[in-house]
């Protein structure tokens, strides 16, 4: 485990409102460099809204929102991504009429000015051999699991320090889900910090260092993954013990 004490992301009093609807009602959250932190909770608990707010895609307010020393509140998504935090959105959202190659090259757009997206892409194709096979196919023609791989690879093309993953196992067959979780562990071993939103509580807590449980837009419970697994709330609500 490469977890350090350096705080990479620190959020205080985050709220997200869509008109009159408050999806997130003042949560505090920290992620340390090298950690996998998981956000758990029922549908509508505010997990996706939190991730979208972090990258600037949802209307947000906060007392403090620092990523690697940078105040995120005033920054648009494109700048946040260039600073090293990116999101793999729920439902994958690959550019389906573009080829796999084109999706990856767009993901590496930040390297286009200086540096070399092609070199990053070579690394990515080693990590995801299936994408090398499909390189010139339309992304829309890939299977769900392959599209999820592509969505993750596309996000990694921006060489992030912190990767936000929104429901990466959604709608995938069990073996494919296992592969995605293996991949997440593998990415952490390579030094990536990950904030993971998942419905799949068992596997998330197996892989994560710490977790937060959200309910109705608030943090209901937080702690180390082991403590959460043992907590009666999680046992009752998710693990059916």
């Amino acid at each position: 485990m490469t977890t350090s004490d350096e705080i990479l992301l620190s959020i205080e009093g985050l709220t997200v409102s869509y008109g009159a609807v408050e999806a997130v009602r003042g949560i505090d959250l920290t992620v340390k460099r090298g950690e996998i932190v998981t956000l758990l909770g029922a549908n509508g608990a505010g997990k996706s809204s939190t991730l979208n707010a972090l990258v600037g895609l949802a209307p947000r307010k906060a007392r403090r929102m620092l990523f690697d020393g940078t105040d995120l509140l005033a920054l648009p998504p494109e700048t946040i991504v260039r600073r090293g935090m990116t999101l793999v959105p729920e439902g994958r959202r690959v550019f389906s009429s573009l080829t796999v190659d084109e999706n990856l090259m767009l993901g590496g757009a930040k390297h286009a000015a200086r540096g070399n997206p092609a070199a990053v892409k070579t690394n990515m194709l080693e990590l995801f051999p299936i994408l090398a096979e499909r390189l010139h196919q339309k992304a829309g023609s890939l299977s769900g699991g392959e599209q999820q791989m592509l969505a993750i690879a596309r996000a990694l093309m921006s060489s992030p320090d912190l990767l936000l993953l929104d429901e990466p196992s959604l709608g995938l067959a069990p073996q494919v889900v296992d592969r995605i979780f293996d991949l997440i562990g593998n990415l952490r071993d390579r030094g990536l910090t990950i904030l993971l939103v998942e419905q799949n509580v068992v596997q998330s807590l197996e892989i994560a260092d710490r977790g937060y449980v959200l309910a109705n837009g608030r943090v209901e419970l937080q702690g180390s993954a082991a403590d959460l697994r043992a907590s009666p709330e999680i046992q009752d609500a998710y693990l059916g013990a």
Partner: protein
């Protein structure tokens, strides 16, 4: 009908349809990215016409006047975006549409009051208005030029969209603008690129239009942009290939009606053309080449 008259009609159809296609493409490029139907697109044609006209009056040679006209068209499109459309980006389709009507109306009044309400002649080189004789065929030079220019523009745009990072970003933006921003690509850059391209397309269409008519007036862009809008609807709004197909189809319908309608019905040519468009839409309400999902916003 003799062979050369038929071929001349075919050329007319291709050249008129090509101009509609360029205009419809300009509308579709912007619509596919920000959901705006820009009715001020026609005024970009008019601006181009005036720019070429004044450049010639100031003594610039014709090729330089054309370049000046296109540069002015692109600059005008970028200014339109910056001043009028950026402040309302993300607003409802109705707001965007009304804003574009306002821009169009303001520009027309400015042309009328600052330049002239009457048409101003543009001295097009005589080499462009001649007739080319190929064997037994006599073909209009300007029609041939229109077709070649249209093809070059379509090929160029296709290369741009598929071979450059900006082009890929535009295609991606038309699918999912939010996720494109997650690639670290600036939203303003993509929107400005779309407007620059639509300005260039309107500029080329304006050039071809002025070259055929030999004059420019404040309302010059009104009719063509309406036709381009119809063409874009036939093709499926937001679909680029649909806009091109719709433009050529509308051009063919108009030229064929012009050639074959009896004289007594000719004044109703546009009514018949619209009737055919309605027929197309009855069978394909989404347009001929509609994309499966329309733009969000």
């Amino acid at each position: 009908m003799s062979m050369d008259i038929f071929l001349q009609q075919l050329l007319n159809a291709l050249s008129l349809g090509g101009t509609y296609a360029l205009l419809a493409l300009g509308l579709a490029v912007v619509f596919s990215i920000i959901g705006l139907i820009n009715f001020a697109h026609g005024e970009l044609m008019t601006v181009t016409g005036y720019a070429i006209c004044f450049a010639l009056i100031w003594g610039l040679p014709f090729p330089l006047a054309v370049i000046a006209g296109l540069v002015v068209a692109i600059a005008a499109a970028l200014l339109m975006e910056r001043i009028a459309f950026r402040p309302v980006r993300g607003a409802s389709g109705t707001t965007l549409l009304l804003t574009s009507f306002a821009v169009s109306a303001i520009l027309r009044v400015l042309f009328q009051n600052i330049i002239s309400a009457r048409p101003i002649p543009v001295s097009i080189p005589s080499s462009m208005s001649g007739v080319v004789t190929i064997g037994p065929l006599h073909l209009g030079m300007i029609q041939l030029i229109s077709i070649v220019v249209t093809l070059v523009m379509l090929l160029g745009l296709n290369l741009f969209l598929h071979r450059t990072m900006a082009g890929r970003a535009m295609r991606a933006a038309s699918e999912d603008f939010a996720v494109l921003r997650l690639m670290g690509i600036r939203a303003n850059f993509v929107v400005a690129t779309a407007f620059a391209i639509s300005g260039l397309l309107a500029g080329v269409a304006g050039l071809l239009w002025v070259a055929q008519r030999g004059s420019v007036d404040p309302l010059m862009g009104a009719l063509p942009v309406l036709k381009a809008f119809i063409a874009a609807i036939i093709g499926g709004l937001g679909s680029l290939s649909g806009a091109v197909a719709g433009g050529f189809l509308l051009g063919f319908i108009e030229v064929i009606l012009q050639a074959y309608l009896p004289d007594s019905l000719l004044p109703y040519r546009d009514a018949f053309a619209i009737l055919l468009v309605i027929a197309v839409l009855l069978f394909r309400p989404q347009g001929l080449l509609a994309r499966k999902t329309l733009v969000k916003l």
